[in-house]
């Protein structure tokens, strides 16, 4: 991985950068790479829609402004890795997705950023626009799926499936287990799942969990059920 210090330090000090075009092209390539690695093609299309065909130029400009804003830290570094620059780009993309493209890239000029420190006042919002929220939710659901399949033991899968059929489809599946055992195991399992994925099955997160468990039911529980019927 290459060190970008030789481009970034002169930029932050306001000195001329040798091979500025090379730097610009490299960063634009990283922007393209960030879109394809961390986001779906739909996200890149959104940027084209809001920024127009110059979206790569605009994002590059925002990238440079972002570097200037954190120059106090960047100037201390012995090494600036490509990996970190990609993280900055990813964050720039999330920033626009988070505010629904509210901030136009052309709103602030270089001069207004460099001259004098602007103290910004921000508020904590909880809600992402639904599109951004869905992107992250998909990632989490995929990850939880893998996790529960690997971390839950066979008897625990059985109990979970019993519960899911009952809660989601209002359907009682046959089981050899007495109800009291089932209940005790379910209470234990709820705690285990809560600990593993950090979401409470009976709390505020149910809406999000429901989507996950519907998928779990179709991918895991149904297969189990068919296997059982086959036997």
């Amino acid at each position: 991985m290459s060190d970008y210090k030789k481009y970034i330090v002169p930029l932050l000090k306001g000195e001329p950068i040798k091979e500025y075009t090379k730097f610009e092209n490299k960063i634009k390539k990283l922007i393209k790479k960030s879109f394809s690695t961390y986001f779906s093609s739909e996200v890149e299309r959104l940027f084209k829609k809001y920024y127009g065909d110059t979206y790569l130029d605009d994002l590059f400009q925002e990238f440079v402004l972002r570097l200037i804003q954190t120059k106090d830290l960047l100037l201390h570094l012995d090494y600036i890795s490509e990996r970190y620059l990609v993280k900055i780009i990813e964050n720039l993309i999330y920033r626009q997705l988070s505010c629904n493209f509210k901030y136009s890239p052309k709103e602030l000029s270089f001069e207004s950023v460099i001259g004098g420190e602007i103290e910004e006042e921000v508020i904590a919002s909880e809600i992402f626009p639904s599109y951004t929220y869905d992107c992250i939710k998909e990632l989490k659901i995929g990850h939880w799926m893998k996790l529960l399949i690997t971390k839950l033991k066979e008897p625990e899968q059985e109990v979970l499936c019993y519960y899911l059929y009952k809660r989601l489809l209002n359907r009682e599946v046959k089981t050899q287990l007495p109800l009291s055992t089932l209940y005790k195991r379910w209470e234990r399992l709820k705690k285990k799942i809560r600990k593993l994925i950090g979401s409470d099955l009976e709390g505020e997160d149910w809406e999000e969990l429901k989507e996950f468990f519907e998928l779990y039911m179709s991918k895991v529980c149904e297969k189990r059920l068919y296997k059982k019927l086959g036997n």
Partner: protein, 282 residues
């Protein structure tokens, strides 16, 4: 080669769980080249409601939620992170979107205690927020369980470890106790002689070594060296040596050690190289 990378991309799209893993592993790799802490600028007084960037790479941002009334030297902070998908846990996760700074930060479900001196020296204000946002973040911390097994949970734990190493703590009691040490006259004279040749051109009052960082405050006659030792050494038997000379020996009751009569010198950067904190083998 090209075909392979396209294939990986397709697998990732179909199995997006791996993207969280990928981001987590990338972050871990970045930590191998962790740098800092650095003092950012001339230092500035921390205040409730500020968002500050901490002088460490990969960066950590801190939201100051409270200055303790009884102990105004101590502040409560909630860490914020740029890694949106690794810390966005649920619909209640607070997000700050910055217009000028061109970033967005997500709150982590952690609240820690930090000393004024640490925040003053190593962090810098970048923005501010109001009480309702502070309350929202504090409520989120209280009501959120850190998932044990997911990559998001592991990322949060990793950030917590980094902050504890820097001297922040999970309990305010840890910050209150400091151990005051007076060096033996012979040790003092040895240090003064050993390091008297140093030039003033690169004088440094803030130093960082393995498992510690230190701040020197100069008084007319002597220097006061405050060492902050990594939180994970608390309670351990340690030797603190300058080259081979022992400055402190014993069970570490507090991670803040204050050497009240350190010799007055023109530069203290030698501490980074020559000072070591070693766990004593019993």
């Amino acid at each position: 080669m090209k075909r392979d990378s396209t294939k990986n991309w397709v697998i990732e799209m179909l199995n997006p769980g791996d993207l969280l893993k990928k981001s987590y592993l990338e972050f871990r790799r970045m930590l191998l080249k962790e740098q800092g802490p650095f003092s950012l600028g001339a230092g500035s007084e921390p205040k409730e409601g500020e968002i500050r960037i901490f002088g460490i790479y990969p960066p950590i941002y801190l939201l100051i939620t409270e200055q303790l009334k009884r102990l105004p030297e101590i502040f409560k902070v909630i860490p914020l992170s740029e890694e949106i998908k690794l810390c966005y846990l649920n619909k209640r996760t607070p997000i700050f979107v910055f217009k000028t700074l061109r970033m967005c930060l997500c709150a982590l479900p952690l609240e820690l205690y930090a000393e004024r001196g640490l925040l003053y020296t190593y962090s810098k204000r970048i923005a501010k927020t109001q009480k309702p946002s502070l309350n929202k973040c504090q409520k989120y911390v209280i009501n959120t369980i850190i998932p044990e097994a997911t990559y998001q949970g592991r990322f949060i734990k990793l950030q917590e470890e980094r902050l504890l190493k820097l001297g922040l703590t999970l309990h305010q009691d840890h910050l209150l106790k400091e151990e005051v040490i007076y060096l033996d006259d012979t040790v003092k004279m040895w240090i003064a002689e050993e390091y008297s040749y140093r030039l003033t051109s690169s004088s440094r009052w803030v130093v960082k070594g393995k498992d510690f960082y230190g701040i020197v405050e100069l008084k007319p006659e002597y220097g006061v060296l405050t060492l902050y030792i990594s939180e994970n050494l608390k309670g351990r038997e340690v030797d603190i040596r300058l080259k081979n000379i022992v400055l402190y020996q014993g069970k570490l009751q507090s991670t803040k050690l204050v050497f009240k009569n350190f010799p007055k010198l023109s530069d203290y950067s030698f501490l980074e190289e020559d000072l070591s904190v070693q766990i004593r083998k019993l």
